[in-house]
């Protein structure tokens, strides 16, 4: 199995490297993998508003995927308002003041909660107990001051 990954750009974002991985062993369409990962990068703030995405051709060559697939991913992201095309060619991350970014963040969190709930169920821990645990951890983290308030 060939496995390729790339840095979306050859420079660093805020100290952390941003990467996209494409794999053909889980059945998810490749364009969707690209869409999901860019959405994740944007929602998690690792791709900031106004940053330029790699050119279609460049990303296609680095990921070793069909350029039409990358173009489709970018179109999809554009339709969802995550990125925007600018006249001088180039695709840029949209201003994320929109409610959409929040919706994406909630979606990412929802997926994690689903995993948590599935695990809790398997361990025979009730939803009430899970809720209580979440509250407890929240206060514990707040009192140590190590967490930032999640934005509302």
């Amino acid at each position: 199995m060939l496995y390729y990954c790339i840095n979306t750009r050859d420079m660093e974002y805020g100290g952390g490297q941003v990467q996209i991985h494409v794999s053909t062993d889980n059945g998810t369409a490749i364009y969707l993998q690209i869409v999901n990962q860019i959405k994740y990068l944007v929602a998690s703030g690792r791709l900031a508003a106004g940053e330029e995405l790699p050119a279609i051709r460049v990303l296609a060559e680095r990921l070793v995927v069909n350029p039409n697939t990358v173009a489709r991913a970018y179109r999809e992201l554009e339709q969802q308002g995550i990125v925007e095309k600018r006249r001088t060619a180039g695709t840029f991350v949209s201003d994320q003041g929109s409610p959409l970014a929040r919706r994406e963040r909630v979606k990412i969190l929802t997926a994690r909660i689903d995993l948590l709930l599935a695990e809790a169920r398997q361990m025979d821990i009730s939803i009430e107990e899970v809720n209580k645990l979440v509250e407890q951890r929240h206060s514990a983290l707040q009192s140590t001051g190590s967490s930032e308030e999640k934005d509302r």
Partner: protein
């Protein structure tokens, strides 16, 4: 006749009802296939399925016993210059002249193609780390593939045909080959046809695919649609039934006891009612890789 060619003007390759036999063995069985301009077309199939035979018809190296082949709207057997001048071809066995040096091979091939791009050829030579003084016979397997790729690409063909380009090569050379496919397609209007056993590669780079089996097309279409049209569904049979479910659209099924994993074709709203109709509870369903779809189709 003219009208059918006119209708397929946007198709670079048009194979219509081609049958070809070798002795008693039917290699191509009433096979039809169209490849539109500007896409990467992946031809997949097992050994002896007919991939290479089909490619050789497209190149005019074989004459169809029945049916017609048109490439760029021309018959490749009747007009080899008009067709082959616009095709870059890397054969499965990379049959390059062993006695030539790489530089000689480049000069020799250049003579056949008016559109040969000398600068691009030099660029590829450097990129592939080929030494022009090396004789073709002394090239490693990977370097031989790269040399074959160089002479297939340097005249910037309208159609690039690669027969099993990756077979027996290490990942670095395979990446060069896939990179070449991607760069070729990124140039507006160029078309790529390649055959491969390595379905993860096909899944990465092909827009459209065809599965060929026993000389026939089992399945052809856009990669995305084909992937959407196949699901793996795990079901639990009601009661104590130990027999596998059977329903319309089921391609394959394996399992034991009450639990079975089936490969379904069609959209979810098509298979869901039929699966539930035979008294099976759907436990989970998931997307499939091209590899899995291929196995289910060929075995089914």
């Amino acid at each position: 006749m003219i009208s059918s060619i006119e209708a397929n003007r946007s198709c670079v390759v048009d194979v219509a009802s081609v049958t070809r036999k070798f002795g008693d063995k039917i290699a191509l069985d009433n096979l039809s296939l169209s490849i539109p301009r500007g896409i990467v077309f992946g031809l997949i199939g097992g050994n002896g399925a007919g991939k290479t035979t089909l490619i050789k018809h497209i190149l005019g190296m074989y004459r169809a016993h029945a049916g017609t082949v048109h490439v760029f709207g021309r018959d490749p057997v009747a007009d080899p210059v008009g067709v082959l001048g616009r095709i870059g071809y890397l054969s499965e066995d990379r049959d390059l002249p062993n006695w030539m040096r790489v530089g000689e091979l480049m000069g020799y091939t250049e003579a056949f193609f008016p559109s040969w791009d000398r600068r691009f050829a030099e660029e590829l030579c450097q990129q592939f780390e080929l030494d022009k003084r090396t004789r073709v016979r002394h090239l490693s397997r990977g370097q031989r593939a790269r040399a074959g790729l160089l002479v297939a690409l340097a005249h910037r063909p309208d159609l690039l045909v690669l027969d099993e380009p990756s077979s027996g090569l290490d990942p670095v050379v395979r990446r060069d080959i896939l990179g070449a496919i991607i760069r070729t397609i990124a140039d507006e209007g160029r078309t790529v046809l390649f055959s491969s056993h390595l379905l993860d590669e096909v899944e990465r780079v092909a827009d459209q695919i065809a599965i060929i089996h026993h000389g026939r097309i089992l399945l052809a279409g856009f990669m995305d649609e084909i992937k959407q049209q196949h699901s793996r569904v795990t079901v639990r049979m009601s009661g104590n039934s130990n027999t596998p479910p059977t329903f319309a659209g089921m391609l394959a099924c394996e399992g034991s006891g009450p639990d079975w994993t089936c490969v379904c074709s069609g959209q979810e709203d098509q298979w869901r009612p039929t699966v539930e109709g035979v008294g099976a509870e759907i436990i989970e369903h998931s997307a499939m890789t091209l590899d899995e779809i291929f196995v289910a189709r060929v075995r089914g």
